[in-house]
């Protein structure tokens, strides 16, 4: 326990030294403040964002809330579509062979390159942002669900068959639980994709959301605001990812060594 405390303290010390060096470097004119806003300026930016908001009236909490809501809508919609579709494709090898090239293709198209098209289709409103986020999450999730059910250890299937299971029963009782760790890993990866897409998705037609905040700050050369936005996005991703990992441990206590998949 003491060793762990000491380790935590020393890594905190490293961060503190780095921040202090940064602050001093700006103070002595080695770094330009508008390029590398010092920690003190970022802290002031954070206070301004929390109290008055940026642009004026839209506080950091509104930005965060709006972004979470958009990501959640796109993410949940993507999962609700991808899981049943992936389970179906994974169950039928013919379907898997037919759809594999399409899935690889769609997954490889950078989500943000769709922005102009999606605006033409859905306008510049909320739906466009949710659709973009959903698109990114969907393909990642879909390929993981398919891989999960397709690559179940064959010896488990043989063991189940030797116990008299076959067909849909075999799929439900063996293939599904065996695929769960991979499906969960996919859900975590998809969430990461969702957060990667937001900055682009919120570029157009809104002043609310963390992505919009970052773009707006760029317009006014408020680098410290950009950094606060980045930090909040990173923190959100970290918290939600840890939450999902915790949920996995509760739902799948048997899958102890998922750490390799988790990263």
């Amino acid at each position: 326990m003491n060793a762990r405390l000491a380790r935590a303290a020393s890594s905190l010390a490293v961060i503190a030294v780095l921040l202090a060096a940064w602050e001093l470097a700006v103070g002595y004119g080695l770094l330009k403040a508008y390029q590398f806003p010092p920690p003190s300026k970022i802290a002031r930016g954070f206070v301004e964002l929390s109290l008055t908001g940026f642009p004026t009236g839209v506080s950091l909490w509104t930005h965060t809330g709006v972004t979470i809501w958009r990501v959640l809508q796109g993410y949940v919609a993507a999962i609700l579509l991808a899981v049943p579709l992936g389970l179906l494709i994974g169950a039928l090898p013919v379907l898997d062979k037919l759809s594999a090239p399409l899935i690889v293709f769609c997954r490889s198209v950078a989500t943000l390159s769709l922005l102009p098209l999606v605006i033409v289709w859905f306008g510049a409103g909320e739906l466009t942002k949710v659709v973009l986020i959903g698109y990114g999450c969907f393909w990642t999730m879909l390929s993981n669900v398919i891989a999960g059910v397709r690559y179940v250890d064959p010896v488990l299937v043989r063991a189940a068959r030797s116990c008299g299971l076959q067909g849909p029963e075999l799929y439900r009782e063996i293939v599904l639980p065996a695929a769960l760790p991979r499906i969960f890993a996919g859900a975590r990866m998809a969430l990461g994709v969702g957060f990667m897409v937001i900055v682009g998705a919120e570029m157009i037609g809104t002043i609310q959301g963390l992505g919009a905040l970052i773009m707006e700050a760029r317009t006014f050369y408020r680098s410290e605001i950009t950094i606060v936005g980045m930090l909040v996005i990173g923190l959100l991703g970290f918290l939600i990812s840890s939450g999902l990992a915790g949920l996995e441990r509760v739902l799948m206590p048997w899958a102890g060594n998922l750490d390799q998949v988790r990263r």
Binding site: D153, R158, S162, C163, L165, W254, A255, G256
Partner: protein, 271 residues
């Protein structure tokens, strides 16, 4: 050393301990061929005209180099794989699939990781149509048989390789099989655990009177366990020779008969 299929001398009241067999063949394998589609087109012959009779309560080992088709033959008896041609019957019934009295123990990692030891064993009972409480009771009893009662609530990842294989055996026994098919079940275990489990298996086999077909690549293991050892040759897999193991059990690795037979099998294997 008598030949395969020589069943006329078997006595009806034979006990497994004596290494003798009852009169009628119990598993009958006739002219079994197995071919897979080869990658370069054409066919790859894995098993070539296998003829083998196995008596009830007999312990038979299949031994041979990799590629001799021993696992394929086991899978065909298990009904998990179909022969390309030939006949295979258990009792008088042709084998058309699993669930005809075959219980299978696989090499390793064949336990369902999301089920506890108890859950895995209980899985074997699921087709038996028993009430839940009785399934639980009987599963615990089987865990007791393999010496793992205390580990009933452990997940596979929390168990050693030896414990996992004990649970695998218990799960196969839960099917109440007449035949226990074992595919190198102790191959991945360390030496001490392997010897322990071999003794355990003999104990269970003698207590429950099963017919056992045991795939191994260890001459030593085959000699310690079997009534007969079927030596398969590779490319394509075929029966090269069948050895009777006449020594009474428990056997000792140091007795002269054991070593003489070991040398004989080894020279046949490397010829």
């Amino acid at each position: 050393m008598s030949c395969a299929g020589d069943i006329s001398m078997r006595e009806p009241d034979a006990t497994p301990q004596a290494g003798r067999r009852t009169r009628a063949p119990f598993i009958r394998i006739e002219a079994v061929h197995k071919a897979f589609a080869a990658r370069q087109g054409g066919e790859l012959m894995v098993l070539d005209s296998i003829d083998l009779d196995i008596a009830e309560n007999e312990f038979v080992s299949l031994i041979g180099r990799s590629g001799c088709g021993k696992t394929t033959l086991l899978n065909i008896i298990a009904g998990l794989d179909a022969a390309t041609s030939g006949r295979i019957a258990i009792g008088e019934r042709p084998v058309t699939g699993p669930g005809q009295g075959q219980g299978v123990v696989f090499q390793q990692h064949a336990l369902f990781p999301w089920l506890t030891a108890l859950g895995n064993v209980s899985f074997g009972f699921r087709k038996a149509g028993l009430p839940l409480e009785e399934r639980r009771e009987r599963s615990l009893e089987l865990l007791r048989l393999v010496g793992l009662e205390a580990a009933a609530n452990k997940y596979p990842r929390e168990m050693s390789g030896g414990m996992q294989q004990r649970v695998s055996i218990a799960r196969a026994l839960a099917l109440d099989p007449q035949i226990l098919l074992m595919d190198e079940p102790f191959g991945a275990l360390d030496e001490l655990t392997r010897i322990e489990l071999q003794q355990e298996l003999l104990r269970i086999w003698q207590a429950r009177r099963k017919t056992v077909v045991f795939v191994t690549h260890s001459i030593d293991e085959a000699l310690m366990l079997s009534d007969r050892i079927v030596l398969l040759a590779p490319n394509p897999g075929r029966i090269q020779r069948i050895f009777e193991v006449p020594m009474p059990r428990p056997r000792s690795r140091t007795e002269p008969a054991f070593n003489a037979l070991y040398d004989e099998i080894w020279s046949e294997l490397s010829s």
